[in-house]
Amino acid sequence: MLVNDMTLKIGGEAGQGVESTGRGFAQALVRGGLYIFGLQDYHSRIRGGHNSYQIRVADHDIYSHDERVHLLLALTKVAIDEHLQEIVPGGGVIYDPALSVDEADLAAQSVKAFPVPLTKIAVDQGSKLMANTAAIGAAAGLTGYDMGVINSVIRDNFGKKGQEIVEANLRVAAAAHGFVKEKYAASFPFKLKKIEAPLRMLISGNQSLALGALLAGCRFVAGYPMTPGSPILEWFAVHSKEYGVVTKHSEDELAAINMVIGAAQMGVRAMTPTSGGGFSLMVEGLGLAGILEVPIVVVNVQRPGPATGLATRHEQGDLLFMLHAAQGEFLRIVLAPGTIEQCFEAGYRAFNLAEKYQSPAIILSDAFLAHSPRALDMDALDLDVPIDRGALLSDEELDGLTERYRRYAVTESGISPRALPGHPNAVYALGSDEHDEYGQICEDVAVRTQQNEKRMRKVEAARSEMKPPQQYGPPDAELTFLTWGSALGPVRMAADILSDQGQSANIVQIMDIWPLPVDKVTSALQGAKKLICVEQNYTGQLATLVRAYTGIEVDGLIRKYDGRPMSPEYILAHLKGVV
């Protein structure tokens, strides 16, 4: 018997409620003091197709899913066909006997069949719509999980539909639970047990990023819907009235970034979330923010390209694009969080850095990070985030201004004190043409050189403030993984497995991508005995970047570009090929 160390997976068609069922069960686990990591997988269609929701659960914090499934809740026959191979020997499948599954197929894989009349139970105790609730009850019955927490989740999630619906769902869950507990529980070795623990949140990357941005004082969010970036816009839309945020679903992405520039120039912290395709349309605007020196935040939640690619899936293919997007040269800050906590951090740091350096800041997230919820301690996200508005002139300072305000005053750091429009002492116009210190259009050689150098000095200033890479594991390990973004989670799990196997591996994760803190990266990598870069793209973009600026070439590259996230097993399997 193995307690609190397993993976549950729910599979079914789009429209069958796979996601809400998975999330509900995950919630119940978290409320029971367990740690979980959730993985979603769905097609770019509204109904039909095959979706799944996978929950890795443990009694300690975990950073990714893995490839072993212990219990499958199959809402369709396809779910079994798709996932049978993933189930460990001794694992099982809960399904409605109406699906006409051949138990022999399961037996051939040493997988146990647990047919449960989910629909019948649902109909008998409530309504047909509640079959998923039955599945949850059945899973609890099989794993021996506490029905109290399951019931609390049912109460909360169905509460707004009325007491009657809640009651019916509770009955359905109880009936399925009873049925399974009696009939099958004894033959299933993987168990889940509630433990005492402080409250925890079940939160995904998009959500924590939005929270970080909100706390940083983001008051204006414009965007055009694009998976997987749009949930951030929607998050703000839902909270906009309560927290006084103006949200705008604009006519296109060109409008979105330019609205954000307009708002930011007025002095409001403003952001636009999108994915790579939408970002492509924002490229010209990025340069506008660069030359106007307007602080904006752009979030690119990556998905696989090129073009539409795989709309609902995962990749990290946009790194070098972010660094070089738009004509000409200017500072952009690029932060690539790799964990839910780092999403929150990036959410507020981006605003501080953008305002301090009066430049666009890009948060480069990805679908895996955006969609995968993890259990987090309540204090993992400290809402009292630091706010640094940089060289922003106060009304008092402006009151005392005696000479004509110079928006683009040439300074040593390259940063010019910023006045917001509206003060009588600092009336100025600025523009996308090259300009002089006052903002007037100017083509002079000397002025161009001065202003260009002023702007580019900010790159070096920002570079010196960029954080060193995050390092994990023993400093003198035999193997060093270099990675970024959400690949970090599977890499951490892989490193843990290696160390369980008596090998030693450590990790260098670069979150502060640009301006690349070259010296810090060099010193983090210098001691590496064997350097393996793990990233989710075809060409090895981080490895290219590191070589370009540090001269360090990695010894091996583990890549994945099939639209599905890395896994610890994938990394370990491919490690053999590269070392």
Binding site: R219, F220, N258, Y428, G431
Partner: protein
């Protein structure tokens, strides 16, 4: 009192002598002064083009943005600080060509912006290509076949898109244009002021001499009801021997976009603190994830 001169800057306009932009610039300065606005009360937003350089020559807050993105930047600016009067000044290429989608959207959105389009029916700054409003058959130096498309009709499209203040000005009549801009400044939503602007260098056809005898004023049209959509549509289509100027359509019945945004009830966004609430009030957000 603010005077029109207070809106001029030290920089001499680089427009060609005789360019219709001078008339628009002068009318705008006069209208601003008449409305009692000071330079710091105003935010001029433009794009890229000859006309779009206007903020560079004007003492007022301003942003010269990208070609075509004028209205998008202006919309963000207006939503962030509706305490300032946001005025766009940009060319027909900028407004109706590259910026066509933002134009239709701004009209429909009824965002509180005065949109002055310097409509010279040509691309001035890039040296004479045809623009969306160039008539069928216009032959620029660069395209000997001439324009094949029918000209874009901004007034008709604005009307169809639900515009609430649709007007045409004429840079050759300072007084009328000044008046028209003051009316636009008084409108609560999006106000289109499409201005007939001679480009003496690249569009010799629509010269002062061609336009002057043709324009006539809507306010002189007894019985014209500027709140009648059907009548306005007919007027919007009128072009040729007689060209109507003035207010083609106006309604004050629809609130401006910014009047309907809950977050703006507490005043201009930029005047509100970064956080709308105290820190503990944000803590409840974590409850959503339990």
């Amino acid at each position: 009192m603010v005077d029109a001169k207070d809106f001029a800057s030290d920089v001499r306009p680089t427009w060609c002598a005789g360019c219709g932009n001078f008339g628009i610039w002068n009318a705008l300065k006069k209208a601003l002064a008449q409305t009692g606005l000071a330079p710091h009360d105003v935010m001029l937003v433009s794009g890229v083009g000859c006309g779009s350089k206007l903020p560079d020559y004007t003492t007022a807050n301003g942003v010269m943005t990208l070609h075509g993105r004028t209205l998008a930047v202006a919309t963000g600016a207006r939503l962030a600080n509706h305490g300032l009067k946001v005025i766009c000044t940009h060319g027909d290429g900028d407004g109706y060509g590259e910026g066509g989608n933002h134009f239709v959207s701004a009209v429909r959105r009824n965002i509180g912006i005065v949109d002055i389009v310097q409509n010279n029916r040509v691309y001035g700054l890039t040296k004479g290509q045809y623009s969306p409003t160039s008539p069928h058959g216009f032959v620029p130096r660069t395209s000997p076949q001439g324009a094949i498309e029918e000209a874009f009709n901004p007034l008709a499209v604005a009307l169809a898109a639900g515009g609430t203040f649709i007007s045409r000005g004429w840079s050759g009549d300072l007084e009328h244009l000044t008046w028209l801009i003051t009316e636009a400044l008084g409108h609560r939503g999006y106000a289109l002021v499409d201005v007939l602007q001679p480009c003496v260098t690249f569009n010799r056809k629509y010269s002062y001499d061609w336009l002057r005898p043709r324009v006539y004023k809507m306010q002189d049209q007894v019985g014209y009801d500027s709140s009648d959509k059907a009548a306005a549509f007919a007027k919007a289509l009128e072009w040729g021997e007689r060209i109507p100027i003035g207010i083609i359509y106006r309604t004050e019945s629809r609130p401006a976009y910014e009047e309907m945004v809950p977050a703006l009830e507490a005043g201009p966004l930029v005047k509100q603190p970064l956080r709308a609430k105290t820190l503990p009030e944000y803590e409840v957000l974590k409850q959503e994830y339990l």
